[in-house]
């Protein structure tokens, strides 16, 4: 058995079939690189007898997956100049067979029977005619950018020439994956087929009807769709495009820069040179740390997570049929909508039917706003949500998510009330961002079934669920909570019960530093821009505004009261004084109140930081800190806290921490997450920098023991 089979028909049409031995999907790695040129040799030797080629996959429902990520991750990141030269040659060699294929002089048609992503679609682009099965399983696109890469097998050159720079740059830089009908509408494929048989027959008909097929850009009179780079019509893209790449990524995503440049640069030159230019840009990403970070976290670790690395083994996969949700506020309603969208029946309970109905109304609004949900689908989704005020309606739910107020007493009351009607096997999951699960489980008669599931707001959009096991939580309960999270299309990370769990504890650090710097008299613009340049979606002050300063104020007061109640000295820190001043003295309570650290317009859109901050916190003028220090003070304490959490055994998986930090709390994605960013920085260099920061900015920057040990042993977080 070989990677590529060639099957000749009587009419001179050869079927080229990809069927990589020992794999469920075909990938573009070393084996492909070896097999494809040989197949071309053979095809070229057929001479006049060859009338056309039909390319397809031998894997049922799987066309071709793309590049071999594992192989790319193993490449030396800092090769010698000579090795880099060899590498470039290797890239060009890998591209060559596709160039030979399209120039064979016979029509080449591809039949796409499943996902054709990355390398898979690049193969398809080298064909003269592309047909895809009209099923939702077919996904077409060039998603390399999502892993910090770009297409390197001619995908940029060919898509630009096929669709023009504007369309191509959008599809490639956003890594869009399209269904067959959408790909057809965008001009990425030419035809649809209802079955593999129809696809084959359409392919052969096309070959017979188009004996002299060539790529459109090799026809005489071809012009680049949308205009050449020198054409005034493309100035919007060529002038503002690069700037927008920079400002949208804050310069943190090399792949986005390289794609923009490659799209424009390859459009300026003749075809073979364009392939050379694409190869050079592609190579920069093979040697790019950010790409390594993203491949590690979003491919290797994400696959492990999806496969259940943090799920207890030996427990059969479960699926929730009926989900009970307690509390129909924004969180409960969001989860209800999310569950119903994924086909789960939901009982949405609140204290009054009116409240529960409001929760359903939230789902109705969400359906109306969603472009992917039509009226019929909306009816189906809403039909699955059953609002109620009666606890008895929860009786046959197999899992309950409690999403009431963050108040121990209220949570205890609903736990007892609900368990009374539930089956003994039902899992009870409390949605909380910080309350201890073991303690909440005291209200439960079956704490082994009690677990924490921390959803993020808005629950229907945020991709992460933080699962928290209490002291007595069983593996069975954990497995079922994990399975539910996946059923909801979410990424579950698993942590042990400890104050703040993982995500709340980590993000708390950057918010605290933001306030501390403000209290020290640092220009708030530098604080906020520091976070954005780090790659965070928003600055710490903006984050706190969106949470509400009032909430933070009450939480701080509660903490103080709790500490004093048990006779512990209370050390509120400069950050609580910032909050106190904002709330008590100037009554700026946050975004919802229309005024916080920022000014907001009538629509609640932020304008800029409130100029009054200067009078409050920098009366003598702003304090000058190096911008790098500001950036590091926002990033490092999150990482150091995450390392402490790992050290304490609260989180068990580096991958969970990486993915959780990015998807839950907006940790900069280009870093690969809280742990991977240390590897990228260099464990020793990171430790050294933490020590420097500790000297200047306090003990929160002291490297934890675990980090010191890893630095000493030169080990990465994996």
């Amino acid at each position: 058995m070989s990677f590529i089979r060639l099957e000749s028909n009587a009419d001179g049409i050869v079927e080229l079939i990809f069927d990589q031995p020992g794999k469920d999907v075909n990938v573009m790695g070393d084996e492909y690189a070896e097999a494809m040129p040989k197949a071309l040799d053979e095809l070229e030797s057929m001479g006049e007898g060859l009338t056309g080629i039909y390319i397809r996959s031998g894997k049922p429902g799987q066309f071709f997956a793309g590049g071999d990520i594992t192989m790319m991750l193993e490449m030396d990141l800092h090769p010698t100049r000579e090795a880099r030269s060899d590498m470039l040659e290797g890239i060009m060699q890998a591209k060559a067979p596709l160039r030979r294929l399209e120039a064979l002089g016979v029509p080449v048609v591809v039949g796409i029977n499943g996902p054709a992503l990355g390398g898979g679609f690049e193969i398809a682009l080298a064909c003269h005619h592309r047909i895809a099965l009209d099923t939702p399983k077919v996904k077409i696109g060039l998603p390399e950018a999502m892993l910090g890469l770009m297409p390197g097998a001619g995908g940029v050159v060919r898509l630009v020439r096929l669709l023009g720079m504007q369309d191509a740059v959008g599809l490639i830089s956003q890594g869009k994956q399209l269904t067959a009908d959408k790909a057809l509408a965008r001009g990425m494929i030419h035809d649809l087929a209802a079955s593999e048989e129809e696809m084959a027959s359409k392919a052969k008909d096309w070959i017979k009807a188009n004996p002299s097929a060539r790529q459109p850009w090799e026809e005489s009179g071809y012009t680049l769709p949308g205009g050449e780079p020198s054409d005034p019509a493309t100035q919007g893209l060529t002038y503002f495009g690069p700037v927008n790449v920079m400002v949208q990524t804050w310069g943190n995503m090399p792949a986005q820069q390289v794609i923009m440049a490659a799209v424009i640069d390859t459009a300026r030159v003749e075809y073979d040179t364009a392939h050379m230019i694409e190869a050079r840009y592609f190579q920069t990403l093979l040697l790019d740390q950010v790409a390594r970070n993203m491949m590690t976290t979003f491919f290797v670790q994400m696959n492990a997570m999806d496969a259940g690395a943090s799920r207890p083994g030996g427990i059969e996969k479960s699926a929730v049929k009926k989900l009970g949700i307690l509390g129909a506020g924004v969180m409960g309603a969001g989860i209800a909508f999310n569950a119903a969208k994924f086909g789960i029946d939901v009982v949405l309970k609140d204290v009054t039917l009116e409240n529960a109905d409001k929760g359903k109304a939230y789902a109705r609004d969400a359906c109306e706003k969603s472009r992917s949900i039509d009226a019929e689908k909306a009816l189906e989704i809403l039909g699955r949500i059953h609002p109620t005020a009666s606890v008895n309606d929860l009786a046959d739910c197999d899992l309950i998510i409690e999403a009431v107020f963050e108040d121990r007493q209220v949570k205890a009351a609903v736990t007892e009330e609900t368990e009374a009607v539930l089956a003994d096997t039902a899992v009870f999951a409390s949605n909380t961002s910080a309350l201890p699960i073991t303690e909440l489980a005291h209200a439960s008669g079956r704490p082994e079934n009690f677990i924490g599931m921390h959803f993020f707001s808005p629950a229907e959009r945020m991709p992460l669920v933080e699962i928290i096991t209490g002291e007595l939580t069983s593996d069975e309960a954990l497995a079922r909570a994990f399975d539910l999270a996946q059923q909801l299309g979410k990424k579950p990370i698993v942590v042990k019960d400890a104050p703040g769990f993982f995500t709340t504890r980590v993000i708390g650090q950057t918010i605290t530093q933001g306030q501390r710097m403000l209290a020290e008299g640092v220009n708030p613009a530098l604080i906020e821009n520091g976070a954005r340049f780090n790659g965070s979606p928003m600055g710490p002050l903006e984050t706190l505004d969106s949470i509400s300063l009032e909430t933070a104020y009450h939480a701080a007061n509660q903490q103080k009261a709790d500490a004093e109640a048990v006779g512990e000295p209370s050390d509120p820190g400069p950050e609580s004084e910032v909050i106190r001043v904002m709330v008590e003295d100037v009554n700026r309570l946050g975004q919802a109140a229309g005024a916080g650290f920022y000014d907001y317009d009538e629509k609640g859109k932020k304008i800029a930081t409130w100029p009054g901050l200067r009078d409050l916190f920098a009366k003598e003028g702003y304090v000058n800190l190096p911008f790098q220090d500001i950036q590091d003070r926002l990033l490092f304490p999150q990482v150091l806290e995450a390392i402490r959490i790992l050290e304490e055994g609260v989180i068990g998986s580096v991958g969970d921490g990486n993915i959780g930090s990015i998807m839950g709390i907006g940790f900069p994605p280009h870093t690969g997450g809280v742990y991977q960013c240390v590897n990228a920085y260099g464990v020793q260099a990171f430790t050294q920098r933490a020590k420097e920061l500790a000297t200047q900015y306090g003990e929160v920057f002291e490297p934890p023991q675990l980090l010191l040990e890893m630095a000493a042993r030169g080990k990465d977080f994996v």
């Binding site: 503002f240 400002v247 613009a525 800029a608 930081t609």
Partner: protein
């Protein structure tokens, strides 16, 4: 033998509005140059065989301003074949850089008499006509360039100047230029542009217009589009202390878009004597320097300080300062940093009132300030401009 470089004359065309319908729109850029070449020759009865080189700056060296417009103009004119030429591009500093370059040739002793100047037909070759290396996507992403006008807005904001400040300055520029024109201060230098039959096409600066601060306040800022479409954030890579930029520069307080050309005759003492020329001023020194390129416009003060230091002079040794009015904020910043009183800088207005024909401006304002030194019987002047990429240029002249 002294190799001092003397300015024997500095002439210019009037400046026409730089758009179709403007006073010089119908005139080819090369004719702007040859009008001046013929005037320079005839005014002084020059033996052109004694003039070695002509450095001519332009901001858009393409198409009819393309390749080497200096030599092309010489060939097309009545000048001797022995005089050669070269085109020079140093963005807005080109015209003055041409002067400095020819002066340095003379100072070196290698050449004895040369021409410097510039030409720009902005009506026929708009800004950007020649493309730009900086416009390359990859280069742009690594260089943090923003719209120059937004750079001026940023400069004003960082220095604490607001809309009122820049409009006040703009109104003053207009008033001074109008007064100077009405009193004939420019007459000696302006050479009317004539057509192929010798008929005058334009004989006065076209852009000067009656202006009030109130009127200026009505104008819309010019660079909001850049601010809103990415440049307002891009500049944070260099200025992270900025949250938002307030746009204050308008067509009223920025340099005008115009057509025009300038020409300066520079030589050593002996060459001037041989031709019976009387030196008007000596070029004491000149300086170039680079500053932060995103804001781009902060070069004049450091370049001026460098020139002063080279000349062993202090600020107070300069009688008149002539700083190109690229944007009002550029002048306000320079004045603030160098602590220069209003009545010593741009005393006859500048590019806000009369326009900034990119490559021609530097040599043009050199002539303007020299005329004024003579009129006031003062001694020294410093000419300076900001230019693309953060370039600053300065030249110090003194009358002899």
């Amino acid at each position: 033998m002294s190799n001092d470089a003397y300015i024997y004359d500095a002439i210019r065309t009037p400046r026409g509005k730089g758009k179709p319908g403007g006073g010089l729109y119908e005139v080819k850029p090369i004719d702007l140059v040859t009008n001046l070449l013929e005037e320079m020759k005839s005014r002084h009865g020059l033996d052109t065989t004694q003039v070695t080189d002509f450095i001519c700056a332009t901001g858009e060296p393409v198409n009819e301003q393309g390749q080497n417009i200096a030599k092309t103009a010489l060939v097309y004119s009545s000048w001797d074949d022995i005089t050669v030429g070269a085109q020079l591009h140093r963005y807005c500093a080109g015209g003055l850089d041409a002067v400095n370059t020819v002066a340095m040739k003379v100072m070196s002793g290698v050449e004895s008499l040369g021409l410097a100047g510039g030409v720009e037909s902005m009506s026929r070759l708009g800004m950007g006509a020649s493309g730009a290396a900086a416009g390359d996507a990859w280069v742009a992403m690594k260089s943090y360039g923003i719209s120059q006008g937004l750079g001026a807005d940023l400069l004003a904001q960082l220095d604490g100047f607001d809309r009122k400040d820049v409009d006040r300055y703009a109104a003053q520029s207009q008033a001074r230029a109008a007064r100077a024109r009405d009193n004939g201060y420019f007459d000696q230098s302006i050479v009317p542009v004539r057509d192929i039959n010798g008929v005058t096409v334009l004989d006065h600066d076209q852009l000067i217009r009656p202006t009030t601060e109130e009127g200026l306040a009505q104008l819309k800022p010019s660079f909001t589009t850049f601010n809103e479409y990415g440049h307002g954030d891009f500049l944070k890579f260099k200025y992270p202390e900025v949250e938002t930029v307030t746009c204050i520069h308008t067509p009223g307080n920025s340099s005008g878009v115009v057509d025009g050309a300038s020409l300066v005759l520079i030589g050593n003492k002996q060459a001037g004597d041989e031709q019976g020329l009387k030196p008007r001023a000596r070029i004491r020194t000149c300086a170039l320097t680079g500053t932060e390129p995103t804001i781009m416009l902060a070069g004049p003060a450091p370049a001026s300080q460098k020139a002063l230091q080279q000349a062993g002079m202090k600020r107070d040794d300069i009688d008149l300062f002539e700083l190109n009015e690229a944007f009002a904020a550029v002048v306000l910043r320079f004045q603030q940093l160098m602590d220069i009183p209003d009545d010593k800088i741009n005393v006859n207005g500048g590019a806000i009132a009369m326009g900034h024909p990119i490559g021609a401006t530097g040599a043009m304002i050199l002539g303007t300030v020299l005329d004024e030194l003579e009129r006031r019987d003062l001694n020294t002047a410093l000419v300076t401009l900001c230019a693309g990429g953060g370039i600053g240029i300065a030249t110090i002249i003194e009358r002899v």
